[in-house]
């Protein structure tokens, strides 16, 4: 087996004097889908923010392709797509403008695929509507459209299925599996039961 893409050892995080997890360890290989489970407030979002580098309030080590993530920050970020708690969509801009901005931020996103991606997530016809007049689910779809525009080796997705309808969830799950099949890895949190149980690694934060 190849060496793990992302290896976490002995991760400790404390918030408001409450230990969220201690001694957390897992490793993610290429082509794996990992589901982080846990109660509300068990630190799922915090963990994803730590993994993506948004938060530095942790102890322990995170290694990316065998090197400490702090030393290879730029390479790591170039390989990462993060879908956060907030969709990261500007209400004053149209879906197209939002995605164009993402393309300017991230070299891995392909500008030529914007229209196609918006079509796949079901936003054809809404290209010129400012996002504040779209529904919550549609706003999240704008941000999720990024998943159809890139092949970044690591996707970190925080509750990607929230406010998405059933058909959309099924399409998203298929996308995640396709991505894993192509050799990409996914870390996600969701309270939704994934239809495909095979090949999904689960990490339960309650046990740490």
């Amino acid at each position: 087996m190849s060496k793990p893409l992302l290896a976490v050892t002995d991760l400790f995080c404390e918030r408001e004097e409450r230990i969220l997890f201690d001694g957390l360890a897992f490793s993610l290989k290429q082509g794996e889908v990992m589901q982080i489970e846990g109660r509300n407030g068990s630190g799922k979002t915090t963990l994803l923010r730590i993994l993506s580098g948004l938060s530095a309030q942790y102890e322990g080590s995170i290694e990316w392709r065998g090197e400490s993530v702090d030393n290879v920050r730029d390479e790591f970020l170039a390989d990462l797509l993060y879908f956060g708690h907030q969709p990261g969509v500007k209400g004053m801009l149209t879906p197209q403008e939002n995605l164009r901005w993402y393309c300017a931020l991230h070299p891995a996103l392909q500008r030529s695929k914007i229209d196609e991606a918006l079509g796949v997530v079901g936003l054809t016809g809404y290209e010129d509507v400012p996002c504040h007049s779209l529904s919550a689910g549609q706003n999240r779809r704008v941000s999720l459209a990024r998943l159809y525009m890139n092949q970044a080796p690591l996707w970190i997705l925080d509750e990607p299925f929230t406010a998405i309808d059933k058909k959309g969830v099924a399409a998203m799950e298929q996308l995640l599996l396709d991505h894993a099949q192509r050799g990409g890895s996914v870390i996600l949190t969701t309270h939704h039961d994934l239809a495909a149980q095979q090949g999904v690694v689960k990490v339960n934060l309650d046990s740490f």
């Binding site: 956060g84 209400g91 300017a104």
Partner: protein
């Protein structure tokens, strides 16, 4: 293999212009952001003739200071919005996760802030000068000092805005952080206009304002991006 695809790169200038365009577009879509500081600027300057004295000689005396203080307060008023909405909707954290340097985005955001507040204030200042009976010889000095001074206000203000964006009520704290740093700009800015009123050369004042601007241009984006990181990770 996944890693070997899409090795596209974005040059710094492309990223800078994309960020500038985005922020300008956002300001033009939200017209209140554009006009509030200008109206505030006009109102503050109107209060002096009403509240103190409408005497032309008195007004001409205080005009340099009044216009500069009004411009400074109008800038201060607009600072909180600089990173606030990006923080609230999560687009700011996405900027942090870009492999491109955050400094470039901060520089572009600061420039966009100046273009939508400092620049219009500068262009409107002769109107206020006329209202306050500023001698016409001093108009050029007023416009030039604001043209060089207001970008510095945006640069310093960006640091304060970035530091307070993570707080629920950052508005007051920004003023406390930023106002003391604005004092040198105010002194040299209004000094330049006073010198122009007295018919003295203003080159020295403008050079000092320019030095401040150069310093702000080089150092402020660094400090701003570091402050944004602190605010988002907290």
């Amino acid at each position: 293999m996944v890693e070997e695809t899409n090795i596209a790169t974005i040059s710094m200038s492309q990223q800078f212009s994309a960020a500038l365009k985005r922020d300008l577009l956002l300001s033009f879509r939200r017209k209140s952001d554009l006009f509030n500081p200008l109206i505030f600027f006009l109102m503050v300057a109107t209060l002096f003739p009403l509240g103190v004295s409408p005497e032309p000689t008195f007004l001409a005396d205080v005009a340099p200071g009044v216009v500069w203080v009004a411009a400074l307060l109008a800038t201060l008023l607009s600072l909180d919005g600089m990173f606030r909405s990006d923080y609230d909707d999560g687009t700011l954290e996405q900027m942090l996760l870009s492999p491109q340097p955050l400094m470039i985005v901060c520089l572009a955001k600061t420039l966009a802030h100046w273009m939508t507040t400092g620049l219009p204030l500068t262009l409107m200042s002769p109107l206020l000068g006329v209202m306050l009976f500023l001698p016409s010889d001093a108009m050029l000095g007023l416009v030039l000092s604001l043209l060089i001074g207001t970008p510095t206000l945006s640069f310093i203000g960006a640091i304060g805005a970035a530091l307070t964006v993570g707080l629920k009520k950052g508005g007051i704290l920004i003023s406390l952080l930023v106002l003391p740093l604005y004092i040198p700009v105010l002194i040299f800015g209004s000094g330049a206009v006073q010198a122009a009123v007295a018919g003295l050369p203003i080159g020295g004042y403008l050079a000092l304002l320019g030095a401040g601007l150069a310093l702000g241009f080089v150092l402020a984006p660094l400090a701003t991006s570091a402050a944004v990181r602190v605010s988002v990770s907290g």
